[in-house]
């Protein structure tokens, strides 16, 4: 390829605070239009904003988790433009002094590690939305301001990504972090985590960036990748033909997998930013930062390293288990009750994940088999009460009914048979019925041993203790 792509990402994360950033209205999604509004978020004359402290704390958390420095004197600015879903005619945001600056995240693509710079994270309010709904008798567009004034963090990366895969790796990492921090519900479809991508091409080997296009508001990881890939092709064609890429905002159309122009630069706004005189500067003393730091949860990277170092898990297991905070928590709760890290990992990655997947991708947080129940099951297996195979049957039953494993084992008579006398009788029976195979074994064909084990297990309906079966078979065959 003749061109090198340069990608920078701007991510808007909607914070999961209960109330809006500058008023006491609820931020709940999906309520009746304009039911969650007040004079402040409606931009009524005389109303004044008052900052929600939790937003500042969430922003500090995000900054600490992405290795940023925290700005200790914060100023809110007004970004002025007219739009019907923007009640005050300006958006309250941060401009030259964002709360977090100079951070980074490390990503890994195909085994290669790379550091992506984070330019800034700033706090701002969201706008409302226009509804062009089919309402009988109404031709006009309607405005729903429930979302107006909900808190956002805008996380702006450096233009450090050089492939769509790197962009996706960075986004997923960021997504994972805000979810771990519990500051964003991460829902791409509802717009809680939305991304604008700045994409440009330059000749391979060049250090001068080309003209960029801004791809707006794409609501899935898959579409972001598609949009960037399409944009690379589109810009490459223009450059190949000797043309010039124009700086513009483009929208991605998921139906065609293409992007189209939204507006040219000539219509670009002059936002006339200036410090909002209604909000006093927010001063963040060291102590406040330290208090917030104390609430910082263990982040995926640290968790993964700990699983490998302390629990002895393979890298692969650790990576899978920390992919979400909830999954990691489920795993850790189980390990706390049944301290065999690898066995638990096998079960969580195996049976638990499979059952949830098959159950409509149910969330781990409402898995009917709780960590306590899973630990009980594993204990039964460890004690030899049930075999590993029976355990899987019991698990399925637990998932369906939510019952305790002891109860299921008891009700269904699944207790493992370790009684030597009973097993011995079955062994004798099998040997008697298969004289040919006995002959083979004694003739040196030891692989037949497995056949005998299988036969005995079948005779016991899986309940025979395999260790006892093995022991007795060996004894009898070698006799």
């Amino acid at each position: 390829m003749k061109y090198q792509v340069v990608i920078g990402l701007e991510v808007h994360t909607q914070l999961t605070t209960n109330t809006k950033i500058f008023c006491g209205c609820s931020t709940r999604f999906g309520a009746e239009p304009n039911s969650q509004t007040c004079p402040v978020c409606l931009g009524f004359p005389g109303a004044l904003p008052v900052l929600n402290k939790q937003v500042v704390e969430n922003a500090i958390l995000a900054g600490l988790a992405t290795n940023c420095s925290i700005t200790q004197r914060n100023v809110f600015a007004r970004k002025n433009y007219f739009y019907p879903d923007l009640p005050k005619g300006y958006q309250i945001s941060q401009f030259d002094l964002p709360i977090c600056q100079h951070g980074h995240l490390d990503i890994e693509v195909e085994g290669e590690k790379k550091r992506i710079g984070i330019t800034r994270i700033h706090m701002e309010e969201d706008a409302g939305k226009l509804v062009h709904a089919d309402i009988p008798g109404v031709d006009d567009s309607c405005v729903d301001l429930n979302r107006a004034c909900t808190p956002l963090l805008e996380i702006v990366s450096e233009p450090d990504m050089r492939s769509p895969d790197e962009a996706i790796a960075y986004l997923k990492k960021l997504h994972q972090i805000v979810m771990y921090l519990g500051i964003c519900d991460g829902n791409l479809e509802e717009g809680s985590f939305r991304c604008d991508a700045n994409v440009s091409l330059m000749p391979v080997g060049s250090t001068v960036f080309g003209t960029r296009a801004e791809l707006k508001n794409i609501n899935s990881f898959k579409f972001i990748k598609q949009a960037i890939e399409y944009e690379i092709e589109r810009q490459a064609e223009i450059l190949d033909d000797g043309g010039k890429v124009i700086q513009e905002t483009r929208l991605f159309d998921p139906n065609t997998g293409t992007t189209r122009s939204m507006r040219g630069k000539e219509e670009a706004h002059d936002y006339r930013y200036f410090p909002d005189p209604d909000l006093v500067p927010v001063l963040i003393p060291d102590q406040w930062i330290e208090d917030v730091r104390a609430t910082l949860p263990e982040l995926p990277e640290a968790k993964r390293a700990r699983y490998v170092a302390e629990l002895g898990l393979p890298e692969y297991d650790a990576e899978v288990l920390v992919s979400s905070r909830e999954l990691a928590q489920y795993y850790e709760e189980t390990v706390a009750l049944f301290p065999q890290a690898k066995t638990v990992s096998n079960w969580v990655m195996g049976e638990v994940s499979r059952a949830l997947n098959e159950d409509n991708n149910r969330s781990i947080t409402d898995c009917p088999v709780t960590p306590a129940l899973l630990a009980d099951l594993l204990k039964l297996m460890e004690k030899g009460t049930i075999s590993g195979k029976i355990a899987k049957t019991v698990f399925d039953e637990m998932y369906k009914s939510g019952k305790a494993p002891e109860k299921i084992v008891e009700e269904k008579g699944l207790v493992q048979v370790s009684d030597t006398g009973a097993i011995e009788a079955m062994v004798d029976e099998v040997l008697k019925n298969n004289p040919g195979q006995v002959e083979q074994y004694r003739g040196g064909k030891e692989t037949v041993f497995g056949f005998f084990v299988g036969q005995v297990m079948r005779a016991s309906k899986g309940k025979a203790n395999p260790a006892v079966v093995n022991e007795l078979l060996l004894k009898k065959l070698q006799a």
Binding site: P39, L42, G43, F44, P45, G46, A47, L48, P49, V50, L51, R78, N80, F82, P84, P87, K88, G89, Y90, V143, D270, R272, Y273, F274, P277, D278, L279, V280
Partner: protein, 485 residues
Amino acid sequence: MEIFDLTIHELHEKLAAKEVSSVEATRAMLERIEAVDGQVNAYITVTPEQALVEAEAADRRIAAGDVAPLTGIPVGLKDIFITKGVRTTCGSRILENFVPPYDGTAVAKLKEQGAVIVGKLNQDEFAMGSSNESSYFGPVKNPWNLECTPGGSSGGSAAAIAARTATATLGTDTGGSIRQPASHCSCVGLKPTYGRVSRYGVIAYASSLDQVGPLTRDVTDAALLLGAVAGHDPKDSTSVNTPVPDYVAGLAAGVKGLKIGLPKQYFIEGLDPDVKRAMDEAIALYKSLGAELREVSLPHTEYAVATYYLIATAEASSNLARYDGVRFGHRAEDARGLKEMFAKTRAEGFGPEVKRRIMLGTYALSSGYYDAYYVKAQKVRTLIMQDFLNAFNEVDVLLTPIAPTPPFKIGEKLADPLQMYLSDIFTIPVNLAGTCGISIPAGFSAAGLPIGLQLIGKPFGEASILSTAYAFERETQWHLKKAPL
């Protein structure tokens, strides 16, 4: 003496002693409005039914022995104060029919005390003006001379005091909008320190300069009314959390040994001779009362008007963006598409002075000019604040004129906005510095027009300027003179 002539504290005594009821006082006030407001045009909206309901409630409260200083007192509010269920226009066509769904903090505080709100007072459109000629509801006439302006922008609030159509009123002061009309109408007008009174529920003109304050017949009433509305408000993050002193109790402190500064930049050539004479008399009086007078310097005064018009218009251009016809107020008919709806609505809804200031402010904030204008103005503002702090290291209060001239004729300065802007030259620096100032009656011109005197205090030094003003008021009779109406 008629009921409508009484001050707050005089009426309060009669109410408490049950010599008069709030309903009687309110009726008297409504009748007075009926009788004379046609000539003055101080009111945009009179609310007789609601006022009588409030007066009855106040009378029940008084009967139960619960009498706060403002219980049952008929007050008027500049139409910049948001009032739940009562039309609030801000003097503009764009809000001609706007009925707010909430009460602002100052209004809520008055209602809690049981004050009776008789109506909403005329003002310059969005508080932009020094003569009350920019109101969509027509100019207010000065009760001392109906051909003259009452000053602005709280011209209706000042004129209502002078016309005896409200016992007391609230106004707002962004560049002198309480003090200058108080001076022109011979009443007491106080601009508190920025942050002393909540701005929640006050329609913003220039957020970093606007401040709510009382207009009253005398200094005692100013102290009472300020005490009623001052204090921290969690709904306004710029309101300051410092205790509110008992302003009335501090009035009699006297001026013996008080150091009064005379800023040399305020006593310049070209000051109207009548104004100059009133100042000289005031200075002599304070000397005789034992105050120590000395010249001080506020070296950046000459830049105040230019600085003010950059900062105020910049903030206004943004504050007024919400009047777009989408959610409330006037919306242009027959506009095709969004942009046309915004543009037509604003073109029809705003008057020429508001448009002029929005354009000035938009220009000052636009890219390429921001540093040269807005940022530079903020730097000068800091210097002006520093001037005041330096002066207050030497003296306790400052004494200055309020306006370079007595009230001027309606229409006289309309054609020359720059000349008009200069009429606030002595009041604007106080807003830029964020400190407090009071205007008190200090005499009359040869033509019989009022002249006011300004006392400027340290930040949160309201008690000090009130007691200084009270000492003057006790020795003079200016505040007792009545407009010939």
